[in-house]
Structures are given as C-alpha cells and as structure tokens.
Amino acid sequence: MSRTDVLVDADWVEAHLDDPKVVLVEVDEDTAAYERNHIRNAIRIDWTEDLQDKVRYDFIGKDDFEKLLSAKGIANDDTVVFYGGNNNWFAAYAYWYFKLYGHQSLRLLDGGRKKWELDARELVAEVPTRPATQYKATEQDRSIRAFRDDVLQGIGTIGLVDVRSPDEFSGKLLAPAHLPQEQAHAAGHVPTASNIPWSKAANDDGTFRSDDELRELYTDEGVDLGKDLIAYCRIGERSSHTWFALSQILDVPNVRNYDGSWLEYGSLRAVPIARGSEPGAPQAV
C-alpha cells in the first residue's frame, strides 16, 4: 500500500463528484462548518452524535454502524472519501473507524477542507440525498485498535507514539491550551513513549509530508518502524491522523490507534506515568 492508494487530491475529487459509487463525507469538530457550506454532493457524519454509543463509553456497535451507513446511503462497494477541518483530524478518525468495521475502499482528501478553501474551490450549501442501502459491516478489526491493557502490557516491547504537544507530553499541560475540557487526573505520558506531535506530519496547507520526510520524522525520535506501534493522544483523533501516516502512507504493518488515549490512561489508578521531555524507562509496577 502506498499514498496513492489512500490519499486523493482535489482534482480527483472534482472529477468524481458525480460518480454514484464515490461518497464524499465531511467530518468536522465544528459541525456548523458543513451547514455553512461543503463540497458539492458531500454528506456529513458527526463524529460525536453518529459514531459514539449513547450509553457505553465506546463506539457504536456493529448493528448500529450498519444502520447508520445504510441510512446515509453508503454501499459496501462504494469508495468513501473523507475530508474535514482541523487538518483532517476527524476525517482521519472516521477513516480509521470505517476501516475498523471492514469498509474496503477508503480515501482521505489530502489537505482536507482547508486546502480546498485555500485553493478557492467551489463550496455549496445544498445537501444531497442518497437512497438508503443495506450495509453489512464486519466485526471490529482489533489489529488496528488498541485498548488500555495492550498499552500497559506493551510498555518496553511495543513502540508507543504520543502525538500530543510537548507540554502535554511532559506533563506541563493536561490538554491543549484551547481545549481545556476533558482532562485526565494525572499529567505526563506513558513511559517509553516517543513524542512526535501530529502536526509535524503535515504541511501548512494540511497535506501530508512526503514519505521520506514522514519516515525521518518518526525514526529521528527513536521510533522503530519494524516494531508493533501504538499511537495515542488525548481522545484518539489526533492519533488517528498519525495512525494514518504510519499505517496507510508508510505501510508500517502493525500500527494500532489507542482511542482511550490519555483521557483514559491518565485517569487509571496505579499505572506507570513518566514526566518530562524524555520517553522514560519502563517502571516496576
């Protein structure tokens, strides 16, 4: 797999806007963005309202995912192209989420909504309708999703990639300065984790850096691309962006996204935590 299998550019999207087997999906943190305007024929998925279970602190189940995609008019053999704001944070998250439930043909629009806007391409307010489908999902692909115990048991053997800002990593801050809500109890990082902020994987315009730049970015910080890796951040959407870079662009074979991330880990009783700018050594439990 290479970047041409997983990333599309704006010209490709424009050429496929009327292709019924291509579904453009906008996923934003700021849900008002789609309502203002969006790429013609794009549908919206709300990462909170649509993708999170209403009772369990978890994703929606397989049955609900099938209902959601059927209602949205997405067919199993459609190519789903994600894009959105925040440099494609939530678009990458939705891509990973769809992959988790087995959707085969997925793409990310390189540069997301920002690059589309900076290139002054057309945005419309009209909302498309898609006829309902009968979508069938698989069970979750756990080879790309990590849980709390995977992280705890993996300290010292698995490569951990913490993609938060240096101040969150070191323990100076519990959350990004402009997102003070949802803080864990403790500050710091998982011992042995390397810190490569997600933003370093992208250019100013939101597109991903080149393969060589990406490879160097991670290996320079001591990440062994031959090992099993787990990426995490605060709630798993910045780390989806990095999961995409490692797994989908660089084709690193075993990369999982830990969506519980620091919000969960930093609130666990009696787990090892490291502070400061160094990864830190495994700690005796």
Binding site: G85, N86, N87, K114, E117, L118, D119, A120, S165, P176, A177, H178, P197, S199, K200, D204, D205
Partner: protein
C-alpha cells in the same frame, strides 16, 4: 479572562475583513501550536503563554507571517493585512 495571555486580531484585505482564512500560531522555534479559521468578521483569538510567537495567516493566494510578543495576563493585538 484577566489572567489569560491572549493573542488576537483581524485579518483584512484592502481594508475588508477576511472570513475563513486560517491563522496558525507557531512557537519561537517555528513549531505548530494551534490553528483557527477566522470568523466572518475576520477575527481570530489564541490563548497562549508569554513569549515570542509567529502568527501565520493562510488565505487563497497569500501567506503572511507576523511576529508577536505576548505578555502574561495581557491581550496582544495583531492585525494582518493580506496583499491585494
């Protein structure tokens, strides 16, 4: 609000506010810290820490950098004029 260190301002072109531009806050080593789109009235705001920052504005056809020094508990105003 009184204790916050704030960097805020307006992006304009030919005196007209530019909504939907992207403003990035870079730290003193040039590393990305945060990014916000400007409002319909061209405004942006960051909560930052004291120190020297670069405010980089991206808009169709233009990229403009401004250096700003933020002080503890104060609001640093930055007005960004895009080339016509």
């Amino acid at each position: 609000m009184a204790k916050e260190t704030v960097i805020q301002g307006t992006v304009a072109r030919d005196g007209e506010p530019v909504g939907g531009a992207y403003v990035r806050l870079l730290d003193s080593t040039g590393e990305f810290t945060a990014e916000v789109p400007t409002s319909a009235t061209g405004q942006f705001r960051f909560f930052a820490a004291p120190g020297t920052w670069t405010v980089r504005t991206l808009a169709p056809g233009a990229t403009v950098d401004r250096t700003v020094v933020a002080s503890q508990g104060e609001v640093a105003e930055v007005d960004v004029a895009l080339p016509a």
